[in-house]
């Protein structure tokens, strides 16, 4: 770099640029938060959904599955599993784990109560009704 571009100029551009783009990001965040109520399905955020989210979290479901594409890539996407499988299948499947099929990937049995199963299904239903810009591309997730 030539002698006309000094370190202090570089430093000023760094601080100026960072502050500018951080403020722009905050502005976009503010706008997103205004728009979210139309997309994030919050009208249906019932106590059962909240309880289901907690069941999801304290059993570390994200350690194997993805949820709207985020998580681990070891087991199927569950953001749309409610639409793919329906509530009864989901409950029966969770209760039937582990399959014990030799060599197959195994899901632990989390000993969920009927109440917890229902809450979890409500949570997965909620997730499937978020406006995700048509993601995933098809029902297989």
């Amino acid at each position: 770099m030539s002698g006309t571009f000094t370190k202090s100029m570089a430093r000023n551009i760094f601080f100026g640029g960072t502050v500018f783009f951080a403020l722009l990001f905050l502005a976009l965040t503010f706008d997103s938060l205004q728009t979210l109520p139309k997309r994030d399905n919050r009208a249906n955020l019932t106590p059962a959904v909240t309880a289901g989210k907690k069941v999801w979290e304290v059993n570390n479901c994200i350690g194997c599955h993805t949820l709207l594409g985020e998580g681990a890539y070891f087991a199927p996407e569950l953001g749309n599993v409610y639409k793919r499988r329906g509530p009864e299948f989901i409950k029966a499947w969770i209760q039937a784990q582990p399959t014990g099929a030799p060599g197959r990937r195994q899901m632990p049995n989390f000993h969920l109560t009927e109440q917890q199963l229902n809450d979890l299904v409500e949570f997965l239903k909620y997730m499937s009704e978020i406006n995700t810009a048509n993601w995933p591309p098809n029902i297989e997730g």
């Binding site: 370190k7 976009l28 304290v58 570390n60 070891f74």
Partner: protein, 459 residues
Amino acid sequence: MQYSSQAVAKPYFIAAIGLFTGQVLFGLIMGLQYIIGDFLFPAIPFNVARMVHTNLLIVWLLFGFMGAAYYMIPEETETELYSPKLALLMFWIFLVAGAATILGYLLVPYATLAQMTGNDILETMGREFLEQPLLTKIGIVVVALAFLFNLSMTMLKGRKTSIAIVLMLGLWGLAIFFLFSFYNPHNPVLDKYFWWWVVHLWVEGVWELILGSLLAFVLIKVTGVDREVIEKWLYVIITLTLVTGIIGTGHHYFWIGTPEYWQWWGSVFSALEPIPFFAMTVFAFNMVNRRRREHPNKAATLWALGTGVMSFLGAGVWGFLHTLAPVNYYTHGTQITAAHGHMAFYGAYAMVVLCIISYAMPILRGRAANSEKSQVLEMWAFWLMTVAMVFITLFLTAAGILQVWLQRYSATPIPFMAAQDQLTIFYWLREGSGVMFLIGLLVYIASFFVGGEPRKAAA
């Protein structure tokens, strides 16, 4: 070593390498579980192994960053560390808390662990990478605050170089953005939105400041190039990083319920994110070519060049590969993401920590550089681990492309598990590459125990 208090860096570096080894071992377990699904089940279910794998990564990198800062700040500020005792106390607290957390993951069902550690008081657990119990999260904050206090007090009484300022900015940013891990709203979209303020603003934001300053520090030392030149480059690189990376957060806001304009903001800005990594590679090679001294530590120079190249490939090229919204629509949450994650973390963060360790550890052990024999072994380790990581990334990419085709793109999409069955060959190849990585790591560890005549600084 110029300042005796720099010695506190040593236990941090040793712990980092130890935890890194644990991370790799659990990676191999998971790699095998991808093929032999019931391997170690139910003793270590996949989700537990993954939690251990990713949390060990974060913790060993934090140990590495802290060790680096304790080593660099006294030398940069030209004064002794404010309190070496506090630094050592924090080392033991962090190590014990970290080990206890990992044992908790392994020995107690996660739901029980959550109940035992106060998750009902403030629900923060069960989110990817932020699985730590509340107590551990609070412990991380306490250790980080004590660490930042110690270093900031050292800064106040000494010389304030740009490298030190950038490092401190990165470390303060790391601590501040971690606070978002305590915010877990019931609304899943909001939860995801602000979860990225920890994860993205760490690895594609403030951590890159730490990366840049560590690299700049080592380059000054091994090349002898004028500080003014190197620090100017550092500012240019981190400007590019944050100008692209902050709005680049938008590439995570494509499909999680957020407004669709993020597809534009995220695509455009994150498409620019490779530029700072490219600049970093050019910078590293340029400085080494313009070197004004022949530093006896060749291995450290190799790591410095390597981290430039590999972070550009892993974070830059493999990031770009799937960052445009129309591509990401198909690749989001597949093995493509895993491929990118592996090479980016290794290239940018694992390698820069190994670089500073390579430079500082011989000095902490009382010599300018290790013996020829030890350095040759360390360079073998560099190539084994780096080539292994290239292969891991290539095989996961191949698996990802096939997965996308079978499950998402073809006219007749098949279910997730049916697609996984078709990827087995690539998972075997990945596991083989993982074994090669482990061999490289063992060679690396062995290089610390090789004696011989230390290389002297050239006249």
